[in-house]
Symmetry: C2
Subunit: 362 residues, 2 copies
């Protein structure tokens, strides 16, 4: 059992941490590479955390009744596309997007993000690419990258594989929290255009588009009906709605009552999260241009119902808006680069057993 | 490419999300199981987050100048021991411990935790066990489990494997932040006993104890010098120091100046994180009983220097304490269940090239 203890090399150096597959120098190299990137997300509220056990962020003293808002998310199997394409920056944007888009629907301002990157063996250049994307996502949402963990876990991940998670923390004045209790019958439902699949439904999308039994496309092939390759279309970063939505939240007398991020569960499960149980909506998707990636997936035999419960189908965010101010809100959002669709209006749900979301013409 | 589209089954049901390896019903089952556990960590500041896109937590209005403190960590390859032993609750405690022990050294109170659990295929009973441990860790540290993500990632993890990450968020009055700038020459260094390895150095520990070329022990075998099995010794949960340390922080006129969590980097890299650059300590480890697990690892040819830079070697937390109040602090900590060792005193570091940490008798 102890034969190896007789090895000349071991007799010389003993058993070291690096022998166990953990390369501290590679870890330090990655830390140096990401330091400069992280500085681009710095906010004035950050304190220098001497010793660096934890990140520190001073809360504004002008808030009257601050409520902290926080959520955690990952990128899912979109990572397997990034790994296959050897393109690691865009998933960093996705990682931040999934959390801050969940956070902003409460009305909160994202303050900071912490990330977790886990691999079997650290490739500093991959870590640098991922963190560059995380920092891009932070800048797009105005959040500081306050901390994170880069974990090297020999034996846990296949070669070249990694997983990512992030947590976003924000703050909202209690009196300004958005939600179903503000929503009234007659409120207009605005949809904000998505940038493709975002980060949901990739297990199904990959199966439909890439597996030989279905479309069997190569990542480098042109996506039917698109000028993007399949890989590029699959890796489009999740759109971050924070800055445009927060501008619209801040309009006089708060015309936005609630919002729903169209994330896992798609257009079936998410719209009700912004509604009261006695309210329903009928969405007119005929106004939403369908990205070629959705068409290509549906062509593999995915029913419209399954599409809607898996994907955003072109709508990344829903807003429930005071009816007579829908034009003003839409115009504010368009000025900030969003494509906005009027999808319907909130109505009373007469029958508690009736679905809360239906679709025009069905 | 589209042969499968002719399948009778597919013609019947179409391609569904579950066909792609994502089992939404298993996910919902896991969610139901963990709901009751999570309630045991609830704090009165939590708001019901209708829609549930993000967790919400009201900050105390009595804070004068609140600074948020946050950190993220994982459990590392200790998970591989948990998976091999099919024992999934203790790593949930570790997960919380690693973050809240990092957080408390700033002087902060942990408020809430969010967790991330990623697997290839959801085993609801494993998720339940993990979350039961996470909730135990939250209760031990007084933090609410405010949110989390359970991600099923087919193709990302080997069968039965999973990864965990958690983020802790706390708050501290700016005037009460601990750190090196408070530490004075003459301060006494108190060490708090660890409960074995905690969650660091497992790649080396597993190699030394389990691999046939080294000790080659089975998880079920008795650890030499111990009444625990190797598996039980390797899976001892990381000790959570939050409640005892916070009681000692609150002693009149704040006798604790700084603290250092003995985490990755062990007794070489962590003690300096609580010191100014012009300060040094010499630690007397002869006062620290060495757990049999450290002895068994060292016996496989790991040098004392490598032990100290990889493991906590019996000391899970260091406190830098006003000299004439060290007895009072130690007694407060002992009353709350800690074993406390006087390890040395802070001295001036005459030579900026000299190491900041040395050891008595060397």
């Amino acid at each position: 059992m102890a034969d190896a203890k007789q090895d000349a090399e071991k007799a010389h150096s003993g058993l070291r941490y690096a022998d166990a597959g953990v390369d501290i120098d590679a870890g330090n190299d990655a830390v140096a590479r990401i330091g400069a990137l992280v500085k681009t997300t710095r906010r004035p509220e950050q304190l220098d955390a001497i010793g660096g056990f934890a990140g520190m962020f001073a809360l504004s003293k002008t808030l009257e009744d601050p409520v902290l808002v926080s959520c955690t998310d990952g990128v899912g199997t979109k990572l397997l596309v990034a790994i296959a394409a050897n393109e690691h920056a865009t998933v960093g944007i996705d990682l931040v997007a999934m959390s801050v888009n969940d956070l902003v629907v409460t009305g909160a301002e994202p303050l900071f993000v912490l990330d977790y990157i886990a691999t079997g063996a650290l490739a500093p250049s991959h870590v640098e690419a991922i963190v560059s994307g995380v920092c891009e996502g932070c800048r797009q949402s105005g959040a500081a990258l306050l901390g994170g963990e880069t974990a090297e876990l020999p034996g846990m991940y296949a070669d070249g594989h990694y997983d990512l998670a992030a947590t976003a923390v924000g703050v909202v004045e209690r009196a300004k929290i958005l939600g179903p209790e503000r929503v009234a019958v007659g409120d207009v439902v605005l949809g904000l255009a998505s940038d493709g699949l975002h980060s949901n439904g990739y297990s199904l999308a990959r199966k439909a588009l890439l597996e030989p039994a279905y479309a069997g496309l190569d990542l480098g092939a042109l996506l039917p009906g698109s000028d993007l390759s399949v890989g590029a279309a699959l890796l489009r970063p999740t759109r971050i709605y924070v800055k445009s939505m927060r501008a619209a939240f801040d309009l006089d007398r708060a015309p936005i009552h609630a919002a729903a991020h169209i994330t896992g569960g798609g257009l079936l499960e998410n719209p009700p999260r912004g509604l009261r149980a006695d309210q329903a909506v009928s969405l007119d998707l005929s106004r939403v241009p369908r990205d070629p990636i959705f068409t290509a997936i549906a062509a593999q035999g995915v029913s419209e119902q399954e599409m809607r419960r898996t994907f955003n189908c072109g709508v990344g965010m829903l807003l429930y808006v005071e009816a007579d101010r829908a034009d003003e809100v839409a115009s504010t959002l368009r000025d900030l680069g969003e494509r906005v669709f009027v999808l319907g209006a909130v109505r009373a749900r007469g029958d508690a057993a009736a679905p809360q979301v239906t679709f025009h013409g069905e």
